[in-house]
């Protein structure tokens, strides 16, 4: 649940804290993601009612209920389609989509690809725990080969998707990876993702402490590195791809790719050229417009 709070000065992270206590398992990675998002929203300096957080279904998708913004808790896999509709209807709003790896890369995979190629101006946060948490621990599109889950008791034989590489080749214009164990770093990535005009993906390692015994906090603490410390240039597409393929003893986090050259969908769409957000325009057809249409049919 979200609530209204009188906001006098510039909003702080507290202003984005919802009234409802998250019902995630104590220790779940998603807490860190929520915390980071509160910080990032505050840093952006907009008021809570100027944000809309849209999610699908999953443990991670419960997030809109816990943050003090407008929220939509939609169907499993559909957050990006709904969020695109919201953004195009009112491009003055800051729109954030959140969800899980199953939600975004599995059932919502088609929307994922096409929202990126359209460069819709959204921040998309995927809490990637390499498992289906809410449905009590089945294999996910990011589970590694060999991973034992309730639906792959003998080990998964399917290879995982690489969301970052996919995003870079598909047209996302801001591609990053964060770790829920490093809230400050993650908040900075989120803030910059919202500042960025265009589609921003942040794939976040957000461990499911209940159902994923492979990709734990300890595992990530040992393996994650920061691209910022390597001198990586995020405008270098080839280097971005190369880093996105890295997996093993060292797994990079940070900003992989950043392209500011492409217009966003709302910038490219002539209908939004002038007149402000669609949602606030006058509705209907004038007599003159109608007459012009009829003339073409006579």
């Amino acid at each position: 649940m979200a609530s209204d709070k009188p906001i006098k000065a510039a909003p702080t992270a507290k202003d984005f804290k919802g009234d409802v206590a998250p019902d995630w398992c104590p220790g779940c990675g998603d807490f860190g993601v929520l915390r980071a998002l509160e910080l990032a929203c505050a840093k952006l300096g907009r008021e809570p009612h100027e944000f809309v957080t849209v999610s699908g279904i999953g443990c991670s998708s419960n997030l809109p209920g816990y943050i003090n913004t407008y929220g939509m808790h939609t169907l499993h896999g559909r957050a990006l389609a709904v969020a695109t509709g919201v953004k195009l209807a009112n491009h003055d709003l800051t729109v954030i989509a959140t969800g899980g790896d199953g939600d975004g890369y599995g059932i919502g995979g088609n929307h994922f690809v096409h929202t990126m190629r359209r460069n819709v101006d959204l921040l998309y946060i995927v809490m990637n725990n390499q498992i289906y948490g809410l449905t009590t621990g089945q294999v996910s599109p990011t589970s590694r080969i060999g991973m034992k889950t309730k639906s792959t008791p003998f080990g998964s034989v399917e290879g995982p998707v690489n969301p970052l590489a996919m995003a870079i080749v598909t047209g996302a214009s801001y591609v990053a990876r964060g770790f829920s164990g490093d809230t400050k770093h993650l908040a900075e990535l989120m803030y910059r993702g919202m500042e960025h005009k265009g589609f921003a993906l942040i794939d976040v390692f957000s461990p499911c402490i209940t159902y994923n015994k492979d990709n734990t906090f300890a595992f990530f603490k040992q393996t994650v590195t920061k691209l910022e410390e390597t001198g990586h240039d995020p405008t270098d597409w080839k280097a971005a791809i190369e880093h996105s393929m890295a997996w093993g003893d060292e797994i990079p986090t940070g900003l992989f790719y950043h392209d500011t050259s492409r217009p966003t969908l709302d910038e490219a769409e002539p209908v939004l050229g002038e007149g402000g957000p669609l949602a606030h325009r006058n509705l209907g057809v004038t007599k003159e417009q109608g007459a012009a249409i009829i003339r073409k049919m006579m």
Binding site: M72, T74, L88, N90, V271, G284, Q289
Partner: protein, 592 residues
Amino acid sequence: MAKFDFAIAIGGAAGQGIATPGNILARICARRGLQFFSYNSYQSIIRGGHIFLTTRISTEPVTSHGDKIDLLFCLNQDTMDRHLQHVAPGGTAIFNSDTIKPGDASDGLQLCPMPVKELSNNNRNKLVQNTVALAGVLHLLGLEFKLLEEILTLQFKRKGQAVVDENVDVARAAYEYSVENFVPFSTPLPQKDKPLAQVGGNEALAMGGAAAGVNFYCAYPMSPSTGVLHWMAENANDMGIMVRQVEDEIGVINMVIGAAHAGCRAMCATSGGGFALMTEAVGSAGMMEIPMVAINVQRAGPSTGVPTKTEQGDLWQMLGASQGDFPKIIVAVTSILDCFNTIPELFNLVDKFQCPGLVITDLSVSEGYATVDPDDINWEQPIDRGELITEANDTGEKYLRYKFTESGISPRAIPGTPEHLHVVATDEHDEDGGLISDEFTNPHIRRAMVEKRQRKMEAVVSLIDPPELEGPENAEVTLIGWGTTKGVIEEAASLLTQEGIPTNQLAIKWIVPLHVEEITQALSKAKRTIIVENNFTGQFARYLRGETGFDADGHIRKYDGEPFMPHHIVDGVKEQVAGKTDLYVPYQEIVV
């Protein structure tokens, strides 16, 4: 003026350019103030196959493509072979005698062979035969050559004077040839004073959307609904409508829901297969209480089915669209003009009641074209957005998106509005939008929420027009139809009445909610009731029985992909009156 009733059918293969002479003839009629309805029978093919465009012209309103063909315009042998037999006595067939062999014409039927090569100086353009035949047709219809000259000049202007002259010369030679060799129809094409507009069903749905204030439209192309997308795309910039072709129909409806929630009037259209993909989201609009409109233009199913043929086979799909109980409004539009008028009315209802609105129609109307009096198209439709909050208001109370109210309607704030922060959820929720599905599933809140949503529907039925019996009061036969069959049933009923079987019709448009009382009342005095529908299982008959307990005496059903022609219904009624059957399935004579 005596009633003029004349049908021209043009047949050929896809790619032979049937549309051009078809459009020219339609435009001539509309400009003369004549009414028409045209039905194009075709297949899912870009080149080849067989296309058959029937345009029925009259001085009076035309509600179906009728029973007969007066003038057959053959662009290939196939058309001659298939359709010469369908030409009415006194009719005419015109064709290219270089490539088409005439069939055996029955007595009183005029064959008009046109030597295209000779008349066109051996012009090699394959489309020249259309111009030649069209010139002949104009003569046969008693029209002056000048008219064609003007049309051809307009059509070829962009290609330069030489091309214009070439075409006009060919047309003139053909016209003169026809004057010398053939007898024109005894009644020339009449002229009325008021020019009419020609409107397609899909166009009318789109135009109705525009008039309703739709400013967000999404689709994934699917016959026979794609015309709505084309119109929207064409007019998007002028009208300020956001039009998007989305990756699939799931994305389509979810995008529409997002835009609708943010404050747009948002709509989408598809056919049954696409609608199947949309169904989960229909329920989400119901649960989140977001008003939006989805149109299902039925094709013959199931599965991919027959993409270019018609059927009324998706009723139960629409009724059952999405899991769970929740209110939605379903309307079956009855004609092309009704497409235009219904969309604004439906948007006002869904905005008021904050629920999904579904439109069910089919190819027979969506891809049909008809004339409409421009004065009957009211662009300035009333727009009522219901209880919508777009600005901060200091009531001092905490805003509850799903507040329990007597009417069941809770004022709806759009994102961006200060002091109204809330979450909408597809999970069951409390008044403030907080989930009740996770930690504590509260049965009392659940019950109250279910009842709140359903309560909204109680008022809907009083705001929409009930169906009324049309035709003679003490009819022997009452025909019951739903949606697009209204026009053809109306014609069949009047033919039956003329032939001594007084027949009236109860045409049902609003499917959910259904006017149970009014329908029961209207049918209580009917002597013999027959339900007419374009499907195998009698989907509407079963629905009507379920809602009202009413069982009809008989049924006329068609499921071959082609729409009813009036005589199909007339014959079916006669068989039933004679006691031969209570289920009549007409035979489709015209095979395309």
